[in-house]
Amino acid sequence: MAKLYEYQGKGLLKEGGIPIPRGAIAKTAEEAGKIARDIGGPVAIKAQAWVTGRAEAGGVRFARDPAEAGKVAGQILGMDIKGFTVREVLVEEKLDIEGEFYVGMIIDDIAKLPALIFSSVGGTGIEEIVRKYPTKVVTFPIDTTAGLRGFEAREMLRKLEIRGDLQKGLSDLLVKFYRVAKKNEARSAEINPLVVTKGGKIVAADSHIVIDDYAVFRHPELGIEIAREFDRPATPLEKAAYQVEATDHRGTFYFFQMERNIKPRSGYIGFHGAGGGGSMMSMDALLTQGFKIANYCDTSGNPSASKVYRAAKIILSQENIDGYFASGSGVASQEQFHSARGLVKAFREEDLSIPAVIRIGGNSEELAMEILHAYTKDLRGKVEAYGRDTSAVFCAQRLWELVEQWDYRQKGPARKIRERPAPSSYRFDTLTGTLHIRHERCDTCAEKPCTSSCAAGILKFDAGRPILSIPPEEAKRGRCTECLACELACEFHGNKAIFIDLPIPGLDDAMRMGA
């Protein structure tokens, strides 16, 4: 779920007509001091982080004057709260609190409706409120198409004995709050606490809004960089991975780093799953075996070979992983040779130096295993592939044995397995890359396995050299499925003339910054 910062959420609330405290965002102590001066009077300084428990961690503090505000902001900025480094603070007027409430919206998966939650007790977490004051919480299922009506909001409040002007003000707020949540397609939203000031004003003192990942595409105005459920800002590698996902619609690709700065020989595995359930089960197998997991990655939903290739490249760019483990459900509906070719291309380009166990059961698993074994024999690392009749637990054990025996010192530097294409190559663009053919090599090629390996049937011979048999625009639009078969066929059975360049924007930068 894409979490919004408090100040972003408050911006949306304000837009929806809900009062928020006067204030602004500061990136430096000086800025914080200046904002405090503009506000005049005591201020609150709040760390902007996607974690709960900011106050307990010292990320929410008060200051009497601008000088103190600057000093406090300086202490909060750069702080580490549960692994989240604070880069911004929100400086706001300190509210004169008369009463606190809780307002929230969640999606009730049982009723399949949004539900509004209101409590006459606010300030602490909703779980604690429910436990301690069950009679002071009301929930109300909302009609998805009609929205929340004013009378429904008043009825909720009446149940908690909230009457008079306060009832009027709060019911108005509840209606507006739901509108904000719905308009921005929140997966969940909270104002906690919702404050009534001594002057009788209702103000949203805090905000937690989480946008539905799947709806982020409809809300470019929110500026969400990665529509993923992260508790911290994305790492450079995660950003590179997300770009791959965002620009290639074929199948899905999820990548999440669980550990960075891995020490050599510390038992971390690069994990490459396929499908949520199979991935989780395979991770359980790794953990039970005693491994640690560097990253979670899932390519599924019939991904292209090029997508699997990019996933593997990203996984392998993590320093000091001791092994590579790919395992899904074991009985996949999609043709498994696509994933096999993607893995092989990545392994070859990196000259894999660690053991890899690939559990690739499903349709065409025999061919997939053959590809993985035959085309990795010359690499420094060892690749073992298994099919649907081998369990994830066995594969994790097998990787353990390989890692135990592996000599991580004597593998030598990576060799250049394949040269980059010459500028003079024949080339055409594919959906996400460019295919290069060094035609002069085709002239001395006896086997010419390229055109027959092309499942899409878009290559033909012209004077013995393979060229496109369709207009280049069509290849670029996706007629070339980036199955990678021609490249591997050419390398092993032809004259090493074909290279498919599949760039991964941001990967080099990510590696420079220490993947």
Partner: protein, 299 residues
Amino acid sequence: MSILIDAEMRVVIQGITGREGTARAKLMKEYGTNVVAGVTPGRKGEIVHGIPVYDTVEEANEKEGPLEVSVIFIPAAFVKEAALEAFAAGVGLAVIVPDRVPVFDVLEIAKVAQGKGARFVGPNTLGLISPGKAVLGMIGGRAESARDWFKPGVVGVTSRSGGITSAISYYLGKAGVGQSTIIHVGGDAVVGTPHPDVVQLLEKDEDTRAVVLFGEIGTSQEERVADLIEKGEFTKPLIAFISGAAAKSGTRFSHAGAIIEGGRGTHEGKVKRLREVGAHVVDDFNDIPRVTVDVLKKL
């Protein structure tokens, strides 16, 4: 018998001319599903694997109907429209294969389905299969694999993971246990036909003698199945595996989410609750076939 799909029901495929739609039309047709029409706006008159294509579901219904089931292969952003179109044409079951469907769209689909007395499976589902009869979606991938992997029998399978749905059924088959209907309920938090709905349908199916359930951490589907067992509304033996024991639970349990679910959703909670009501919860996924064989022997 079987649930939700058999060899006679008339099926339409929405998005039949797309990459997945075309590939899975072949699977369904060759397996024996009674696919009578496909729909892609603007492509009326085309034929895909022998299946006539129409511009709208209503047109397909007039020409080839009455349509009972629609399988949807449409990009996520347009799934809501497609599902509402299917329900408007009188389709009683929509199988929504795509993932990444916005949750408010799913809620709207649910509301319309409820109003029409219709049902949907998914989104983010591999589909379902009644072995030997018909397949909806993409389970098995190819007809010959689906025939090879899934055998008709007496065990119903319901799973929250697509790949695992196939895996469990295949391993059961290897142990000599066939299946009545196999369903991937969908990987999202809000799905049309979650585990509790599936087991209630399987309860009424005479040919189903036991149910295998693959659960995951998050949501309260497994706990609600336990509630049904406790209330006597689901009485057949249940063999269950809950995934995610060692995996980091992640952040999917939003604090607010716990209020309605009453603290449900954890691995320990699900296992404990299912065991309390007498379900056979296995700790090792690979034990599912053996335990299922034992359970069936005792019936």
